[in-house]
């Protein structure tokens, strides 16, 4: 039997996530002729709205609809999916907070291979799937061979595959709730309580037009002073990467990235930031990106418009002076 590719759909408040369409492109690169079926888990009208939206791009959607699934608790979903997914299937999941929670264990439950955070595929080689991954926060890439003959769970990095929104499908929604739940609700050993919303900070960096963003390259808390001065001179706001928040040097509300804020400035100046996808995942709206880093091979230089190879501790004060000079 031909392998089916299932895509796990993230959705919130009835809106489906962009990754829903990216996974179609990824599926087509893995097995161009395989049927692709979306799996949407949730409850009530929100799930229905998500399924409706999906049916424009997917020929077939499997849904699991239950009140207990109104919040996506990966522990429960990991128990449910093996009850409906046929043995030997390929399952694609976005590599983000939920996907990282669900997927490694799902591969064990389905007894398949597991390929995390794939960024590209290059067809089959020796009967195995050839994929590209990154290591060391994107400093180097690797080719990997993944045995998918008995099925596979593959997490896909968000944002790297082009969204396939080739409309025109009028997909059918297949209700798999009964099959999924006939043995009861699994995953009761982890019980969802609530979502605690992020604290609002003094400055809303999501509204800033000019962001001066600082990363681990700043080395010391005291050195933040020069970053503040540069930002003030340029008329922008200071944001940062995660290690700066982990070290408690800046508030969480200043963190840019997938687990921080999504910003849409006009100009993004990245100082001593390596350019991990979790950081750059928060930089949206195609700003003009300028990177200053002492390592000419830092991944950020692949994403920036303009780069300067320099030690930021020396460069920042000089740039501040220069900006002051032209402002007169």
């Amino acid at each position: 039997m031909a392998q089916t590719v299932f895509t796990y759909i993230l959705h919130k408040d009835g809106k489906i996530d962009d990754t829903a369409f990216e996974l179609i492109s990824a599926a087509k690169k893995i097995l161009p002729d395989a049927p692709v079926i979306a799996i949407a888990v949730g409850s009530g009208s929100e799930l229905e709205a998500a399924c409706n939206e999906l049916s424009a791009s997917y020929p077939e959607i499997w849904k699991i609809d239950d009140e207990a699934l109104s919040y996506p608790n990966a522990e429960i979903i990991r128990g449910l999916l093996p009850r409906i997914i046929p043995q030997g299937s390929i399952v694609l999941v976005p590599h983000e907070h939920f996907g990282m929670d669900l997927s490694p264990g799902l591969s064990i439950k389905l007894d398949t291979s597991f390929l995390p955070d794939a960024v590209d595929f290059q067809g089959m080689e020796d009967g195995k799937l050839k994929a590209i991954r990154e290591e060391y926060s994107g400093q180097v890439s690797t080719h990997v061979l993944c045995d998918i003959a008995q099925g596979s769970v593959i997490t896909i990095r968000p944002g790297v595959f082009k969204a396939d929104e080739s409309k025109g499908e009028s997909g059918t929604v297949v209700d798999k709730t009964a099959d999924a739940l006939k043995e009861g609700l699994p995953g009761q050993s982890r019980r969802f309580l609530e979502v605690v919303e992020a604290e609002v900070g003094d400055v809303d960096i999501t509204k800033s037009e000019i962001l001066i963003s600082v990363g681990r390259g700043i080395e010391d808390e005291e050195n933040l002073e020069m970053v503040n001065e540069l930002a003030e001179t340029m008329g922008g706001d200071v944001s940062c990467s995660r290690p700066i928040v982990d070290a408690k040097w800046m508030e969480k509300s200043r963190q840019v990235g997938t687990s921080g804020q999504t910003v849409k400035p006009k100009v993004y100046l990245a100082l001593g930031i390596s350019g991990s996808f979790q950081h750059m995942g928060g930089v949206k709206g195609a700003p003009y990106v300028i990177a200053v880093n002492k390592n000419p091979k830092a991944p950020i230089f692949q994403q920036a418009d303009v780069g300067v190879v320099a030690d930021i501790l020396e460069f920042i004060p000089m740039l501040t002076d220069k900006v002051k000079e032209i402002k007169g």
Binding site: D117, A198, G235, V267
Partner: protein, 263 residues
């Protein structure tokens, strides 16, 4: 509470620029500085704090070569009570499933209430914790940035989710958690601390000590295999400003002006 912390020895990316070797078979390993995976320090710190609050022991475990002993010892210097090294030629080339099977075999020899891993390591997989939990049939939560002990049978955990929000759950013990950076402030370990644990015995367990099926470990058991390393083609990369520092500053300020980067 009996806590197991899994730690991995990795090249320290804060100390090294990682480069691919000439034939792309490996990264350039000469002169690399190694350390414990960043995330694992947070896991060890959290385990030590929990033990200090509610009692019990912290065991640190690593799968690797002889060199991995140094990271186990480092976490013992932080305050872990004991260490275990899982090392055997037969483990070489294991994929994530293989490493998880090896750790599972050791876990089954002991009695743990809580297993902590880092959220991810040097190859950005983020897989060991989730696989281990599923193999043990224990509940799992990833990207944990808060732990509160409720009682002997359950704990409250916060998971980091998108946008800086936090997902709170209650989870039954025993369980596996993967720890996200920022959950605590890992303590500093000085030379003196390392010296204090220098003579402590770290047992080494291999295939002879663990009940393991050979089909899931080592190179032959791996379903996922790395073929090579390469440097992503930086074709459409940034325009790198060249020239003297004054020229660079002039160009940059000009760009800032035209792009609206100066108010």
């Amino acid at each position: 509470m009996e806590i197991l912390v899994c730690v991995k020895r990795v090249p320290d990316t804060a100390e090294n620029e990682i480069e691919v070797n000439k034939d792309g078979t490996d990264i350039e390993r000469d002169d690399l500085v190694y350390s414990v995976n960043e995330w694992d320090n947070y896991a060890a710190e959290e385990a030590i704090q929990i033990r200090d609050n509610v009692g019990g022991t912290v065991t640190v475990l690593s799968v690797g070569g002889e060199d991995a002993e140094e990271v186990v010892r480092r976490e013992m210097a932080m305050g872990a009570d004991q260490g275990i090294l899982l090392s055997d030629e037969a483990f070489t080339g294991s994929d994530g499933r293989g490493i998880s099977e090896i750790i599972k075999a050791e876990v089954e020899k002991g009695k743990y209430d809580l297993i902590l891993t880092g959220a991810q390591a040097d190859d950005g997989a983020g897989q060991i914790g989730g696989m281990l939990a599923a193999l043990l049939d224990w509940p799992y939560a990833s990207l944990v940035n808060l732990i509160e002990i409720i009682d002997e049978s359950k704990i409250k955990v916060g998971r980091e989710i998108a946008g800086g929000n936090q997902e709170m759950s209650e989870i039954d013990l025993p369980c596996v958690l993967s720890i996200q950076t920022g959950i605590n402030e890992p303590r500093y370990v000085g030379i003196r601390g390392i010296r204090k644990v220098a003579s402590m015995e770290i047992p080494v367990h291999g295939t002879g000590d663990l009940s393991l099926s050979p089909d899931v470990i080592g190179k032959s058991g791996a379903k996922v295999k790395r073929l090579d390393y390469f440097v992503h083609d930086p074709g459409e990369g940034a325009d790198i400003l060249e020239g003297s520092i004054d020229e660079i500053l002039d160009k940059l300020v000009e760009i800032l002006k035209t792009k609206g980067g100066i108010k």
